[in-house]
């Protein structure tokens, strides 16, 4: 029985590694036949006998079948399975035990899922926090706070482990040990992308779960990310977009969530900020604005809408408000990134006092600098 299950999963994993095998084709193949039979048919080029498979392989089913047969002859399913087991990656096949129910119910489920960590985390309420890789300090801080506060409220944060908003949300969720986050990535488990998130990948996999539709060794090719985004949308019960450019990749996730009827929330930003152009547009189109964690909990049905406390979204970390030149500099900075030159122009301060004021504000956690740009921190982290 156990050996039998292994073989079945080995065949499924081997099917994923075939060239030109996208999510739609894989789903068609595995809906038509069980994995072992599908593999035999691939080897003998009888895989196009099913109309749905041939449809998925348009425009050249015969060519695809030939390519698959050629690749399959040099591939050993047992070996593919063994490599995944050795790497600690579980292979989960649609319709078999161990496959998450929430994805099985989806209309575009990944036919094979590679996972690290425990899928028990998918049993609790889940929220996707997504956004641009090129975020501002404000977006980073808001994503971090949402991740932290949602995790503290027992909500699992689902995101894509990319740079920017995704990474900040994961970090925030990891910083409290209550509901560990779930990451959905576009490349194979052994191809860490972006490389700077190596430690974050490991920590998410250890504390929560790391999912991928791609087998070991799969490069982060561009087409994988929209496909990855549909899994995030399918997993989450609500999607929060923290910052997105007008035509950013987060909009794929929003579309996918829309298809599935998931509530979408967007964090408003300054109208002059390109990084908030997409989210502000979403709010204009009727999305619920996410002003704080409670808004997200309400969307999940975990909390009743409460009258908003006056000043609830104001600076909460301020033990002592800055005064003197520091206050003037903070006012002049506003919520868009600015250079020292712009701050001097707006405040009329001389460079010496302005530099002292910025140093004070930085020490107090009010502002942060990167590459010559000053930004106001959203929330103290």
């Amino acid at each position: 029985m156990t050996a039998d299950r292994h073989t079945d999963h080995d065949y499924a994993a081997a099917l994923v590694t075939l060239p030109l095998m996208g999510p739609a084709r894989l789903l068609a193949v595995l809906r038509a036949w069980p994995p072992d039979e599908a593999w035999q048919r691939v080897l003998t080029r009888r895989v196009m006998a099913d109309g749905d498979v041939a449809d998925a392989c348009r425009p050249d089913p015969a060519g695809v079948a030939a390519l698959w047969a050629q690749a399959a002859r040099t591939s050993d399913p047992t070996d593919v399975g063994a490599r995944h087991r050795a790497a600690g990656v579980a292979v989960r096949v649609l319709g078999r035990p161990g496959y998450p129910d929430v994805l099985a119910e989806d209309h575009q489920p990944p036919a094979v899922l590679f996972s690290k960590g425990s899928l028990q985390h998918l049993e609790v309420p889940r929220v996707a926090i997504v956004g641009t890789r090129r975020c501002t300090r404000y977006g980073h801080d808001v994503a971090h706070r949402l991740g932290r506060e949602l995790a503290a409220a027992g909500v699992v944060v689902v995101s894509g482990l990319a740079k920017g908003i995704d990474g900040a949300a994961h970090e925030g969720a990891l910083s409290v040990g209550i509901a560990p986050p779930v990451g959905v990535v576009g490349s194979g488990h052994d191809v860490v992308y972006p490389a700077v998130h190596r430690s974050l990948w490991r920590r998410v996999a250890e504390a929560g779960a790391l999912l991928s539709e791609a087998p070991l060794g799969a490069r982060p090719e561009q087409w994988r990310f929209p496909a990855r985004n549909r899994i995030i949308a399918a997993l989450a019960q609500a999607v929060v977009v923290v910052e997105s450019h007008a035509a950013g990749g987060s909009m794929h996730t929003v579309e996918a969530a829309n298809d599935r009827g998931r509530p979408i929330l967007a964090v408003p930003g300054p109208v002059v900020s390109p990084a908030s152009a997409g989210t502000n547009r979403l709010i204009g189109d009727g999305c619920t604005p996410a002003l704080d964690t409670q808004d997200v909990l309400v969307a999940l049905g975990l909390d009743a809408p409460a009258p908003r406390r006056a000043g609830a979204t104001q600076q909460q970390q301020a033990p002592v408000a800055p005064d003197g030149p520091a206050a003037a500099v903070l006012d002049a900075l506003g919520w868009a990134p600015a250079t020292l030159d712009q701050l001097l122009g707006r405040t009329g301060l001389r460079p010496g006092p302005a530099a002292v004021a910025l140093a004070e504000l930085e020490a107090g956690g009010w502002v942060a600098a990167s590459g010559g740009w000053w930004e106001r921190t959203g929330i103290s982290v």
Binding site: R137, A275, D341, P351, G352, L358, A359, G372, W373
Partner: protein, 500 residues
């Protein structure tokens, strides 16, 4: 018969005296030049012959030998033509030897007998010990800049001979064109906004600190750089003579001493030799020497080849550049203020968070075009941003160059009291003594050092800039936290994530 005529040739930015010896004797007619002439110099034979014939002189049908002494120095260019022609006339008996005593000759001959100017006249004339120097009329003013000689200017060989034979008086030098008002130097008052940029210029000028500006296209980097020479103190007499010699050797046609610090802005296509100096026969001063005592502005610094930029490091440190070739080694002065400008990233949004479309990798690749050691030479690194609209339209005009230059001058005087020209030259114990810290400033730097935000080398640079800031503030003996904070800010726009 033999004639001996003094002249000079150019090596780097220095003139070397050359004695032209012409020997005419019976034998198979022929003409030989010996004593390391280069190709242009060897061709003198054809020019001199045609010029003599055009001027109704005789070409001796005898054996002529021209020796250029000392033979160890390579003779460059056509500047010895005139001396060879005069020597030939004396040696062949067409001109009295007495007539040329005490005269040196510097000029190229045309086939029609006209006399042309030669490059590098200031160092050439400077090398001549004879009391009288004869040059082309076009070059009379440049030759007179040295001021030690009687300068005679002639337009043709005929004119020269008649004057030497005392048949006519020496021709008057061409009249000096009426000195119109000098074209106004670009003034700092024209710059709107750019509060940080103006401040950085002032500090760079006062302390002699190299300045790197990063900013998007159209933010005003070039406009700022062009105004830096106007803030520097005018050259002293000695510096002016030195600068004038270099520019003359660099083949610039000069009419007067260079009294303002020069600005050189070579295009990024410049080769290493063009920038550093050298060349094959003619060891020419490069752009960095032409910028001696002034400003070298490298726009689009990231576009210069890395080899060319790294060649700047040694001259930046030593103030001179030694160029060695197989047959000569030359030292060029090169003490300049380096101003670099570059875009922070390929998209031009200057890495503005959320707006810049470049990946971290693309930005890092762009920034890596400046090597760490070169980047480290810049005491001041600022981000220049496009000015806010109100500054451009309605902002008050800024201070004029003259106002700022006065403060710069005062700060430089304080540096002179520390026995350096400017604070950027402070090192070791002198730097230690000149940059005592207030307790608050000391705590701040300790914190930066402990957190690794500052290296020991970076610390020295921060202290130098802070010293300049204090000097501009009136020269308090101890540096305050304000000076240190501002110095740190002036070094914060680092294109790469490297330790300051």
């Amino acid at each position: 018969m033999i004639a001996t005529i003094p002249s000079a040739t150019l090596l780097g930015v220095d003139g070397r005296p050359v004695t032209v010896e012409v020997h005419v004797s019976n034998g198979l007619p022929g003409f030989t030049i010996v004593g390391q002439p280069d190709a242009a110099c060897r061709e003198a034979r054809d020019r001199v012959r045609a010029a003599l014939l055009s001027s109704n002189m005789d070409w001796p049908l005898k054996k002529v030998t021209v020796n250029l002494a000392p033979s160890g120095v390579r003779k460059m260019g056509a500047g010895l033509d005139l001396a060879i022609a005069v020597g030939l006339l004396v040696a062949s008996g067409q001109l009295d030897a007495e007539a040329v005593v005490g005269h040196a000759f510097l000029g190229e001959l045309g086939l029609d007998g006209s006399v042309r100017r030669v490059p590098g006249l200031v160092p050439l004339v400077d090398a001549i010990t004879a009391p009288t120097v004869v040059v082309a009329s076009a070059a009379a003013r440049e030759a007179a800049l040295v001021g030690r000689h009687i300068v005679r200017a002639v337009a043709t060989l005929t004119e020269l001979l008649e004057a030497l034979r005392l048949l006519t008086p020496w021709p008057d030098p061409p009249p000096t064109p009426p000195a119109g008002p000098a074209p106004p130097a670009p003034d700092l008052a024209d710059v709107r906004g750019q509060h940080l940029g103006r401040f950085a210029l002032e500090v760079a000028a006062a302390g002699g600190h190299h300045l790197l500006m990063t900013g998007p296209p159209g933010s005003g980097k070039t406009m700022l750089a062009q105004r830096l020479p106007g803030l520097l103190p005018p050259l002293t007499r000695d510096e002016a003579v030195e600068t004038t010699r270099i520019h003359s050797a660099g083949a610039m046609a000069l009419d007067a001493l260079i009294e303002r610090p020069p600005l050189r802005a070579p295009h990024h296509g410049a080769s290493a030799v063009a920038l550093i100096g050298g060349g094959h026969a003619w060891m020419r001063p490069g752009e960095i020497s032409m910028a001696h005592r002034g400003v070298l502005f490298l726009d689009e610094m990231g576009e210069f080849p890395a080899v060319v930029l790294d060649a700047l490091r040694q001259p930046l440190e030593e103030g001179v550049v030694r160029v060695c070739r197989a047959n000569a080694a030359v030292t060029f002065p090169a003490r300049f203020l380096l101003v670099g400008a570059m875009n922070p990233c390929p998209c031009g949004e200057a890495g503005s968070p959320g707006a810049c479309r470049c990946s971290d990798g693309a930005r890092a690749r762009y920034a890596r075009r400046l090597s760490g050691p070169l980047l480290d030479r810049f005491d001041i690194r600022i981000a220049v941003s496009r000015p806010d609209a109100p500054d451009l339209l309605a902002g008050p005009a800024g201070e004029s160059s003259a106002t700022v230059a006065a403060r710069v001058m005062a700060a430089r005087k304080l540096a002179h009291q520390r026995f350096v020209r400017c604070n950027a030259e402070l090192t070791g114990a002198d730097l230690e003594a000149a940059t005592k810290l207030e307790p608050a400033a000391s705590r701040l730097l300790e914190h930066k050092l402990r957190t690794g935000a500052l290296s020991a080398r970076g610390l020295d640079r921060i202290r130098r800039v802070a010293r300049t800031l204090a000097d501009l503030d009136g020269g308090a003996e101890r540096l305050t936290d304000e000076h240190v904070c501002a110095a740190l800010e002036l070094r914060s726009a680092v294109p790469v994530a490297e330790a300051a």
